[in-house]
Amino acid sequence: MKALRAWMLRIASLFEKERRDRELADKIESNIQLHIEDNLRAGMTPREARGQALLKFGGVEPAKESYRERRGIPLLETLWQDIRFALRMLARAPGFAAIAVLTLALGIGANTAIFSVVNGVLLNPLPYPHPNQLVQIAELYPRIGEISISYPNFLDWVRDNHTFQSLAAYRTNNFSLTGAGQPERVKGVLVSASFFPLLGVKPIIGRNFTAAEDKRGAAPTVMLSEGLWKTKFNSSPDILGKTITLNGAPYTIVGVVPSNFYFCCESTNFQPGDAYTPIGAQDDGEFYLRTNHWGGFAVGRLNPGVTLAQAQADMESVARALSTAYPDADSHSGILLAALKGRWVRGIKPMLILLLAAVGFVLLIACVNVANLLLARSTARSREFSIRAALGATQSRVIRQLLTESALLSIAGGALGLLLASWGTTAALRALPQTLPRASDVGIDARVLLFTLAVCILVGVFFGLVPALKTSTPDLHETLKEGGRGTSAKYRTQRIFVASEIALAAVLLIGAGLAIRSLVHLWNVNPGFDAHDVLGFGVRYLLRSQKKRPVSFAPAWFSSAIPSLPCLAWNPFLPRMPRPRSLAIPRFDCGSRVSPSPRCYRRWTWRSCILSARII
């Protein structure tokens, strides 16, 4: 309490210095006068009295100085002095200052940009309540690894587990929306009724699905995205209870999912949809086959206090029970749990860390560059420092002055870098919206600002310290005599700087070269057929009847509608590009459903050559 009061007063005394100094001088003067009067009374001559009093008082200036040190905060006052001096020095060398600030802005800006991505994607918690309880669930299959889950198995997990508050399955399932203006293909997702409650998502209007709606044979219901609700239904609140036509069947609208709902993405096989329907209401016999792993996954929320390992053990015992109960379907399969966040960022994490390292090197190069500039400049300033040293400045005082200058440079660079970064990340994210999970979570928040500030200070000390140490110990005699000619030691430091700069640049160059080489390799992956000039596109039909009949008119229609099309191959399955990791061979399953231009199709298949194959 006392200390706090004292500090407040010390801070207050940073202002109105002149008045306070005058008062101190008055105090001292009155003190000396009182002493003189005493001396006179003791019988001294006026001259003697004054002399004795001054002698007794001692040095007036040192007394004032020690008083001032107690009065204010000396560290802060000298810092302020240093800052003003540094600003004057930099203003006198605008070219140098501009180059240094720009160099640092690039380095710090790149680091801030990448760190803001790392922060948003890797560090920030997921945008759900208690995100650490969330787990992604897949099935495991020998020799293949992770596979999607089977719905009957999922229902048994829900029944038999002891570690989850809630489990939800989902699967992408697009729809054709008709009867509401222009027919449209909308992204859809089949979800368990528990899916949105599990993630803590509340509908803007309406409600989530009920358990009864998530049962086979239930009347079809749908939840729309806020986006679709806006564009198709004008955000009308009386949409609830109305029906829309999806894939030719009527679905009753029960709720609208807010547009800030986000669930990632490629690594979890999820895409935010415009229409969500209950997964259990599927009326498809195949869907209920235990052997059918239909491309869906599950997400679960652990009971409070349950660890991932405990849940994994629990689910493994569930899996064992299932493999005994259903030896045909489940004898080999297991269950794999992964923390949801780790799963989201699994693919992107190494790349982000690599990028962070790369921009770290860029920053190092920038630092060394600026350090070199400072060193070159200090040669020109060595006379100034010699004079200061001759006047009694200590080495630590001079170093502090120089570090203030470099910190000022780095903070200016950091501020500019922050601008560059905030502008750069927004631009970059707009350019690649799909590739990065949690892109919307990327931004400049308090942690990013703290990171930038820390980088600024570290960088300031880092590039300022060596030149400061070099300049603050000038050979007084030599420098003053020669008018500031550099010494050989200084050149040696510069040589070391240049060498390390080249080394750092080489590391970056080699790294970038390797990355580009990998990219070229990726581009040159052989897809198993000649992909040159081949375009792929899909067409969906609305089948009015449940009976699936071959649609043979389409290729002919396309051929006549687009006369420039040289050749149209028709295949119910378009081969996918093999993923480099799984090395799956695309399936050319044409069978009897050959296109109307067999010549063309042959040409296409002719060019593919299967080296070896196995069942996938």
Partner: protein, 116 residues
């Protein structure tokens, strides 16, 4: 040799001397305080103003003393210091601490009486 040499006030003791002096004498100006402390020490101590002024300032910042301009007995303007209420309490506390320190030190300085 050292006995008749005047010594500077030891670090940390000046604050107590100031407080004690103000307690005994009532409001005093800086010069008077210095003289009083020197007298009380039987002129064995020398008060350095470079130490006294910051010490007064520190006590003032901590709220143990307050100061105001006044007029001396022979009509000279001077800054007068006096104890505040917190200061009065602090005198007792600090005096007690010092007495304790002194008694502990005394044990060491008379080794014959040390229990083994």
């Amino acid at each position: 040799m050292a006995t008749n040499k005047k010594s500077d006030v030891w670090q940390g003791t000046l604050a107590l001397m100031v407080l004690k002096t103000l307690e005994a004498m009532g409001p005093l100006h800086g010069y008077g305080m210095a003289r009083r402390i020197e007298q009380t020490s039987g002129d064995r101590l020398v008060v350095n103003y470079g130490t006294l002024y910051p010490a007064l300032l520190k006590l003032e910042q901590e709220g143990y003393i307050s100061s105001e301009w006044g007029v001396s007995e022979n009509n000279r303007k001077a800054k007068y210091y006096k104890l505040t209420r917190a200061g009065r309490k602090q005198v007792g506390r600090e005096a007690q601490e010092w007495e304790q320190t002194i008694s502990i030190l005394a044990e060491f300085l008379t080794p014959g009486e040390q229990p083994r």
